[in-house]
Amino acid sequence: MAASGAVRDVIGELAHGLRATANPDGGWGYMPGHRSRVEPTSWALAALVAASAPGDGWSPMPHLQFLRRAQTPTGLLADQAGGSPNYAFSALAAIAVDGTFPRPADPWFRRLVEGIVGGRGVAFAPGGVLDRQQNALQAWPWVDGCFSWVEPTAWCLLLLKRMRAQRRDARGPARIDEAERLLFDRCCADGGWNYGNASVLGQSLDPFVPTTAMALLALQDRQEHPLVRTSLSWLEANAERERSGMALALGLICAARFGSPSGALEAALADQFARSRFLDQQHVQAMALYALAAGRTGAEVFRV
């Protein structure tokens, strides 16, 4: 499937824009000119690696160095601009680095994985007003001291599955098993995932495209599971309904990983950029660049 001229133009514009807005410290902020943060830097690194050609003068090294400097004594990454170590963005950074410049023996990377493996969401006993969910299951919270949610669990689970596949972490299987059970437990009634509550007070809640795509990426090796099949069907039916850079980009990355890259999603994503420029949010522009530049070749960074 060849990219259309419009898609190629958007790829070029997004790549040029991201290169131009990198901060001197090697990172990107959520908006141009803002202080560097881990999440947009991780997406931009993966995107620019996918969009760059040998000899075009771009080097990933300053951006890798920014992520290295974000490491805390726990091994996890934290934004120096503010906040505690964040499991979702630490795992995303690990996936981006491992998927672009794998150096498994690197102490920085090993400490990062250690920090992620060591983290758990808060558990609750069953009962009370929320009896549908298995609240004792523990996967990953956004930050320490909180409950487990879909986005941090999806990125951490995807990372540990990559480690397992490469025989690089012996403690992963138990965490992988519990995290998968948590994701299946939080799957919405008609498939798909929202932030992490499928039902509250007996009322079913609806799934969102971005979190559904993230969860499916983490479950790409479980394609035979009925909830994965149902959720994939939901995503295929709804991926173009949520018109935003984030939803279309993550939907496209997910479609690519599940073997059905979508020209319609590519076109919709390029069209949405022309309409909104994704509110100038750099993490979304980088997601879109990655989706457009790497989608046709399988979005390998997110392969398990």
Binding site: V143, C146, W149
Partner: protein, 331 residues
Amino acid sequence: MSSGRATGGVTRRAFLSALPLAAAAASCRPARFTAGAFDRAARSPMVLLPASSYDADLVDVVARGLRMFDLPVAGRRVLLKPNLIEFERGTAINTHPAVVHAAAVAFRAAGAREVVVAEGPGHRRDTEYLVTASGLADALADAGVRFVDLNHDEVREVALGSHFTGASTIYLPETLLAADIVVSMPKLKTHHWAGMTAGMKNLFGTVPGAVYGWPKNVLHMRGIDESIVDLNATVRVQFTIVDGVVAMEGDGPIRGRARPMGFLAMGTDVVAVDASCARIIGLDPQKMPYLREAGRFLGHVAEDRIEQRGESPSRYRTRFDIVDHLTHLRA
């Protein structure tokens, strides 16, 4: 886990009964607030103005309301904080874009140097989708004001103004901290954990998701009521505009039913505005922990301390449906 579940096997109501914001009163903890650090007038005015539908002249309604208060708008940077949490067509989840548009126009007409609309949605981090699908993007384009995503804004760590949660600091968005006037613009809704969400609870959307995640679970873990009070002691809301044109009852803030009420409520004391709204929908504000505690130092809850202007609350007073486990909050 849904928000509000406090500890294993214990309902939120039981938990709150056992901990009526009193744990923090233990002598080993610092004072929850510093008496005298918060100025409040002897009485707080608030106004109810009719607004029969979103097609009404809402700019005129907001402008008339604004003129009833001594709020120095000229030359100031105004931040309008609507409630934008989720989008489902045909529901009453969010502050209606027409109300936000009207406020933007009215504040500019009153001489504001800058007006921005800012929100950090609590469930969806896909702000572009929410702003576009909800119709807010079109309303803001028409009004010529920009939107700031508070979830992904620059942040700064600030000291909390009170200590009900036991925390001492919180990260907040720079755009919020730089505003001269913060206007809380909630949708009036019942809330299945807090009882009611209006001007005070609306501040949850100022807490940056890129620091704390989606949902902003840290606020739930620290206690919803406690977090509401601490946030309002830290982010001082100078004006409140409650969208009561069409409210929500039942299992709010997402799954409730639309309930046409036909008013905008406004005031400079967010606690007083919320207390009045609670009475209008049939809840006792003194039974709601966050309002009761806020009424001790942030603003007024007692009816005799609230000066009603515009329409009488009795014109709108009714009894909203509320989830079973919160019926003890009824007046």
